[in-house]
């Protein structure tokens, strides 16, 4: 059947079983929008800014096992999308972005709304394509989906000139793809896995450090089984939260710059470290020289060889998919009579429990006075039974969300870790809510971050998305203020925002329910009321203590064990 390039694009998306396409129209994609109009399998979600289209697709992907898909026009449409694409890239999220381009003959002529989209996005995509022939569209889109979701996932962009969407050719969607230049390793090296098991069984002070790779590889069950079988302590990175159940006794909390005391101490003083789908980020290990000063053996499972021995030298590298490798480790463990030595493991646990008794996350919520931001998150966890999808923006509220909402399941926690993109939370929540229509979705945000994509309240209205926005309003760009307090002599340079809107009334103006909460006693009631409203978006403006800081904190460049635990340590 001979059809146009635009129709081919839509047919490909249908073949990929895309149910939601997040986008914004413009000249270069008009043929594609025309074809969208003529069908109803792929539902289009009209955002209010292209950055939000990408974040929404990203939230959709993070909360499911699927690829998120977005469509933007050439020039400003594509440049607006760049922040979203980079956000997904830094956290290895599988997306396919289709962008319109000026007609082939106009490329290079400084045409209206022409930018070199492939050039601009090259450093922040897993791969990108410029389609030059209508006959290449189907194969290119097939490749894009394949690349996005296999190996280390990531965003893939397909740039299509307008004339090519109007030309016609025969359509057949390829069933398979193979690329001689791209063959990600899936199975781990058997010998290495055996070596790893031996090390684990001999460990006296073991630690399991699991990251986003476990979530991306859908291997939380296997990780949990392995950790339980071994009886080891387990910590998660910010991206790994939910990979191991947070309410389990073997979980020692998040580690890193704002990690738990027991997690950071355990990470530093362990003698065998099993790193699974985590990349030894600078916000995780602090100063690498300090980290390496303590001898330990490191086993590192990662699908991307370039993540291994990049920042920290590893003793047993295992390149492969987490699910595959953990599965093999579990099988080996089942077939051996050997067990970790209980004596030393017992001593190690005693030490960990002692660290845990420092209760590094304690805070004081008085009955009167200001609401503590931590208290709001804790109540949110209680009210939702720990079972909500939670997205967040970037700043202090993000860290409190990570510390006080205990995620027991993977893909429930959706945040921008690698790029740290303010403005991510609300649009991401739209994607999450569309993917999980009946489930509670909360967006924890700050008054700085929410204003970076607040226009999406309009999209939420149009698509009836009953998101619960939890604004921890401290009147400051709080994370910036915290650094200025600690490292710049309390000089709060441009971290205070005057003239904030009345958020609850702003939400009402968009047609949503808005409430303002300023008493600790009202927090729980407000949350309960909000989550009862199954059909409405409720925007809750919590007036919280503006002086609160995030602790524990490891200062930049310091060792992981040099933690500030509370204001008293200052």
């Amino acid at each position: 059947m001979v059809i146009t390039g635009a129709e081919i694009v839509i047919r490909c998306l249908q073949e990929e079983k895309v149910d939601y396409l997040f986008g914004y129209p413009g000249g270069a994609v008009l043929y594609i929008y025309d074809e969208l109009f003529k069908q109803d399998k792929v539902r289009h979600v009209l955002v209010r800014h292209e950055q939000a289209a990408i974040h929404a697709a990203d939230g959709y992907a993070r909360s499911t096992e699927k690829v998120g898909v977005a469509l933007v026009t050439s020039g400003p449409g594509a440049t607006n999308a760049v922040t979203g694409i980079a956000t997904a890239y830094c956290d290895s999220i599988p997306l396919v972005i289709i962008s319109g381009q000026v007609p082939s003959a106009a490329i290079g002529q400084d045409a209206f709304q022409e930018v070199d989209t492939v050039g601009i996005t090259r450093p922040c995509v897993k791969h990108n394509f410029l389609v030059r022939d209508v006959r290449d569209i189907a194969e290119t889109i097939k490749k894009a989906f394949y690349l996005a979701k296999t190996g280390r996932p990531g965003p893939v962009l397909v740039d299509i000139p307008k004339d090519i969407t109007a030309q016609k050719c025969e359509f057949a969607y390829p069933e398979t793809v193979s690329m001689r230049s791209y063959n990600p390793v899936v199975k781990g090296h058997h010998g290495q896995i055996k070596k790893a098991l031996q090390l684990l069984l001999e460990a006296k002070r073991p630690m399991v450090y699991a990251g986003g790779g476990v979530v991306l590889g859908d291997a939380a069950d296997k990780l949990t089984a392995l950790v339980r079988k071994l009886g080891f302590p387990c910590t998660n990175t910010l991206m790994g939260l939910g990979a191991y159940p947070a309410t389990d006794r073997q979980f020692v909390g998040m580690l890193g710059m704002h990690g738990n005391y027991e997690a950071n101490m355990g990470m530093h003083y362990c003698d065998v470290l099993l790193a699974v789908g985590a990349r030894f980020d600078d916000r995780v290990i602090g100063n690498p020289a300090h980290f390496s000063s303590e001898p330990r053996k490191i086993i590192h499972i990662d699908i991307d060889p370039s993540s291994i021995s990049k920042r920290v030298k590893v003793d047993v590298p295992i390149v492969g998919d987490v699910g595959e490798v953990l599965g093999e480790l579990l099988a080996l463990l089942d077939n051996t009579a050997e067990k970790p030595e209980p004596q030393s493991l017992g001593v190690w646990w005693k030490q960990i429990e002692e660290w845990r008794r420092r209760d590094c996350l304690k805070f004081n919520q008085g009955e009167e006075g200001l609401i503590k931001p931590q208290f709001v998150v804790q109540k949110l966890w209680e009210v939702t039974g720990g079972d909500a999808f939670v997205t967040s923006d970037v700043g202090q509220h993000q860290m409190w969300a990570a510390q006080y909402y205990k995620f027991d399941k993977p893909r429930r926690w959706v945040n921008s870790g690698g790029l740290g993109t303010m403005g991510f939370g609300l649009p991401a929540a739209m994607g999450v809510q569309l993917a999980h229509p009946g489930s509670p979705v909360a967006c924890i945000t700050g008054e700085g971050s929410i204003q970076m994509n607040i226009q999406e309240l309009s999209t939420c209205k149009q698509f009836r998305l009953p998101i619960k926005v939890i604004l921890l309003n401290n009147g400051f760009l709080g994370m910036v203020r915290q650094w200025q307090e600690l490292f710049h002599g309390n000089r709060y340079s441009e971290s205070y925002m005057d003239a904030l809107p009345d958020f609850s009334r702003l939400a009402e103006a968009y047609g949503h329910v808005g409430i303002k909460v300023d008493k600790p006693g009202d927090v729980e009631g407000a949350l309960r009321e909000a989550f009862k409203q199954k059909n409405d978006l409720v925007f809750m403006d919590f007036q919280v203590d503006p002086t609160e800081n995030v602790y524990p904190m490891v200062k930049g460049g310091q060792g992981l064990t040099d933690m500030i635990l509370s204001a008293e340590d200052l």
């Binding site: 492939v118 090259r122 897993k126 410029l130 230049s181 791209y182 060889p305 370039s306 021995s309």
Partner: protein, 194 residues
């Protein structure tokens, strides 16, 4: 690979161990020159993916050459870079990660041959005319363009040979030089092919 460290004077097990450790540490930390060869899909934009990778990650490029191979769908690149072992390990991993890169080898890990082409335009008048011809012959160069006042000399060889030719002639007589950057190939059985 040559290394500046001398073997230990007397051989005792302890000395040997120290010497070896020192050697390994120095090798790991010193910036060594590496010649990396790779095959990449011959597609528009492939070169900018490679050069973009080097600039984005702050890796050195001393030279980079690229041209299609006998299989027109593939290009071959030779990149001369320098870095500590850790950095070079990351460079090869990152190159391998590029979707269009088919194969990567570090030629300098074993026996290989390097060649570079240089064209030099020199002033050739009076007694210099004879002298230039003589120098070209000594270095096995060829004069490929002749005018009343100048020669263009073509020279191939290792980087060092080309450097010494430039050093050997009077710098005042050099009008212009152009070098291709290095092409490299493994010796004997080592073959880079899909």
């Amino acid at each position: 690979m040559t290394h500046a460290l001398q073997p230990p004077p007397k051989s005792s097990p302890e000395l040997d161990a120290n010497w070896l450790r020192e050697l390994l540490v120095t090798q790991k930390n010193t910036k060594m020159r590496h010649v990396i060869s790779l095959l990449i899909e011959n597609e528009a934009g492939a070169l900018s993916r490679v050069s973009g990778l080097f600039s984005a990650r702050g890796y050195n490029i001393e030279s980079l050459t690229v041209a299609p191979t006998e299989d027109a769908s593939l290009s071959r690149m030779t990149i001369v870079t320098s870095g500590s072992d850790d950095v070079v390990e990351q460079i090869t991993k990152q190159l391998n990660k590029l979707v269009e890169v088919v194969k990567v080898v570090d030629l300098s890990e074993s026996a290989h041959i390097e060649r570079e082409l240089m064209l030099v335009k020199v002033r050739a008048t009076g007694k210099d005319r004879e002298e230039m011809k003589r120098m070209a012959e000594i270095f096995r160069g060829r004069i490929i363009d002749v005018t009343d006042a100048s020669y263009v000399i073509e020279l191939t060889g290792t980087q060092a040979k080309l450097d010494s030719f430039v050093g050997a002639i009077d710098s005042g007589l050099i009008l212009e030089t152009v070098r291709s950057g290095i092409c490299g190939i493994g010796r004997g059985d080592r073959v880079l092919k899909v």
